[in-house]
């Protein structure tokens, strides 16, 4: 299949991909997305944004209402079997046969994939401190997650599609997971992962897409998002800060003044900022770049209780929106 948007290096290409569930609004709305070979691509969004719908469309578990998706240049629906042979998948909620042992499950899935040797699965199990002999029904959420990761990685697929891969993993295992992803990337594998854990995304992803209400809000490199020349500035002078001070400082926005203290966002070179405060006695001046989480929340400023608001950043970020989005773009 040829998609006009596809380039030779694309592993995933979607073109106006849309899914409407019967009797409901659009779960996914005209998604145009490209994921390149060898990259770790983060897919961000709160619950109901359309992340899992996208993944299920790519895996041909559900069919698009309109638009198309291609993986490895093959149609996600028509060539589904060939596509799935090259994919490793971890669903957001992993459900397996409870009465089977993990080893039974691994062997069964390996046979379905025509994988004669499960040596790599055993290696993964050792790294994840996983017991293959227990029955699935006895597993904690974390252990189920580990089994899911083993099933996704064990055949060394060209593309890993991981839906909330690290939820339920303890910090140590989270680190092991990050290493596995980095090793996959080093081997030339492509990783497409959806996540709420923005620290994880920031640590391992090359690019991220931000989805909201089924619509793509942004696709950008992680480093361009976090180094987009917008800084948070916290300032404290010895005397009350005159509001008109910021009138001569065009890079400043979202200014909040509280007596002798001020917080604002600032774009541009630092020199004009320093010159603006030069006549005053500056007790404290702090600048920091926004984290990915803070950037993420700018896209959900009016979203009710989005799950991304986990670290109590919302009040700060609610002031962030416009300037940073513009800076990213």
């Amino acid at each position: 299949m040829t998609l006009s948007r596809r380039t030779a290096s694309d592993i995933i290409t979607t073109e106006k991909l849309t899914k409407v569930y019967s009797g409901s609004k659009k779960a996914l709305d005209s998604l145009d997305l490209n994921v390149e070979q060898g990259e770790v691509f983060g897919y961000l969004g709160p619950n109901g944004a359309g992340k899992t719908t996208t993944i299920r469309l790519l895996l041909d578990l559900i069919r698009p209402t309109s638009g198309r998706a291609a993986l490895f240049g093959l149609d996600a629906t028509a060539d589904s079997e060939a596509v799935r042979a090259r994919i490793g998948y971890l669903p957001a909620e992993l459900n397996l046969w409870n009465h089977l042992t993990a080893l039974d499950v691994v062997r069964y899935m390996a046979r379905l994939r025509g994988l004669g040797d499960i040596g790599f699965a055993r290696q993964l199990g050792e790294r994840l401190a996983f017991d293959f002999n227990k029955r699935v029904k006895s597993f904690s959420t974390g252990n189920k997650r580990k089994l899911g990761l083993i099933l996704a990685f064990m055949h060394k697929p060209e593309l890993l599609i991981l839906d909330e891969p690290s939820s339920g993993l303890d910090p140590l295992m989270q680190q092991t997971f990050n290493q596995l992803v980095m090793e996959a990337k080093a081997n030339g594998q492509t990783v497409f992962l959806s996540s709420h854990v923005l620290g994880e995304v920031q640590a391992i992803c090359d690019r991220v897409a931000i989805l909201r209400h089924g619509q793509l809000q942004e696709v950008a490199r992680v480093d361009s998002l976090t180094h987009a020349h917008v800084r948070y500035v916290s300032l404290r002078l010895r005397e009350p800060i005159p509001a008109e001070l910021f009138a001569g400082l065009p890079g400043a926005s979202d200014v909040r003044i509280d007596g002798s203290a001020a917080q604002f966002q600032y774009r541009g070179d630092i020199d004009p900022l320093l010159r603006a405060f030069a006549p005053y006695y500056v007790e404290d001046l702090r600048l920091h770049e926004p984290t990915l989480e803070e950037i993420f929340l700018t896209f959900y400023g009016d979203a009710p209780a989005a799950e991304g608001r986990e670290n109590g950043q919302a009040p700060h970020n609610s002031a962030l929106s416009g300037a940073h989005k513009e800076a990213v773009r």
Binding site: L61, R63, A82, L94, N95, W97, L112, R113
Partner: protein, 271 residues
């Protein structure tokens, strides 16, 4: 890989098959050894004769003179009752083909492997078809074992005809499984599919019963639509095996599974 799902389904299903075969077989064995001679069978037939015609039909009694023979007794005790019980097994394994795994979210993982959906349904249906044969074979073994304990009765039973009548319950059970494959292949709702399968079995049962009892009604005309009507154990014991009627449910099963495969291939999977 071809056959992987088939063998895995057999591997996981053989214990269930064993328990069903042992349980049903034990019931059948009890029914057989409960009447050690022809005289006791005639007493039971006399008791049945006092029943209203519709009630007799519901118990599978069509000819009271035939019921007073060992073959008639077996036709009543085994072939009027066990197809209905086997329908429960057929329905439950039929729901295992797609619906139960889909409902629990397991199917997502299975279908992430390079396996076409139609093959998932087909291989599972074939495996369960084999397991149904296993249950009926165990049932037959128990009946045979029971007959060895009542030689007076056994002497009047043609074991070939008994085998045909017993294994005639295989397509009867397949068709319930096939109905489950059809409805769960077409529909995502497990509850709706289960309801339709139950309606199919219960509807067939009452159509067969009422159609047999009220011979001058539309129900009698429609009776061949009931899959229960296709196993006529009395005719089999009288040496009149109607192979076409006996195997028609098997053909209907194949059609049901085929349509289920097409529907399953085309629809969305999962919640």
């Amino acid at each position: 890989m071809n056959g992987v799902i088939f063998t895995e389904t057999l591997r996981r299903g053989w214990r269930g098959m064993l328990w069903w075969g042992i349980g049903l077989g034990f019931l059948a064995w009890l029914n057989v050894i409960a009447v050690p001679n022809v005289e006791s069978i005639q007493q039971i037939a006399g008791l049945l004769e006092t029943m209203p015609p519709l009630m007799m039909q519901m118990f599978g009694v069509t000819d009271i003179q035939f019921m007073a023979t060992p073959e008639g007794y077996l036709a009543l005790q085994l072939f009027a009752f066990f197809p209905l019980v086997l329908a429960i097994y057929g329905g439950s394994v039929g729901m295992n083909i797609v619906a139960n795994e889909e409902d629990r979210g397991i199917l997502d993982m299975l279908l992430s492997a390079p396996v076409p959906r139609w093959r998932v349904l087909l291989e599972k249906a074939l495996a369960y078809a084999v397991l149904i044969v296993g249950v009926v074979a165990l049932l037959f073994a128990w009946v045979w074992a029971g007959l060895l304990m009542v030689p007076e009765i056994a002497a009047q039973i043609d074991m070939g005809e008994l085998a045909v009548a017993t294994f005639g319950m295989v397509p009867q059970t397949w068709i319930v499984m096939g109905a489950a494959a059809l409805f769960t292949g077409l529909l995502r709702s497990r509850g709706l599919a289960l309801g339709l399968v139950a309606a199919f079995v219960v509807g067939s049962y009452f159509l067969n019963t009422l159609g047999g009892a009220v011979t001058d009604s539309i129900l009698a005309t429609l009776r061949p639509l009931s899959y229960f009507s296709h196993l006529d154990s009395a005719a089999i014991f009288n040496g009149n095996v109607q192979w076409g009627a006996l195997l028609l449910p098997a053909l209907a099963t194949a059609v049901g599974v085929g349509i289920g495969m097409i529907g399953f291939q085309r629809r969305d999977v999962g919640a």
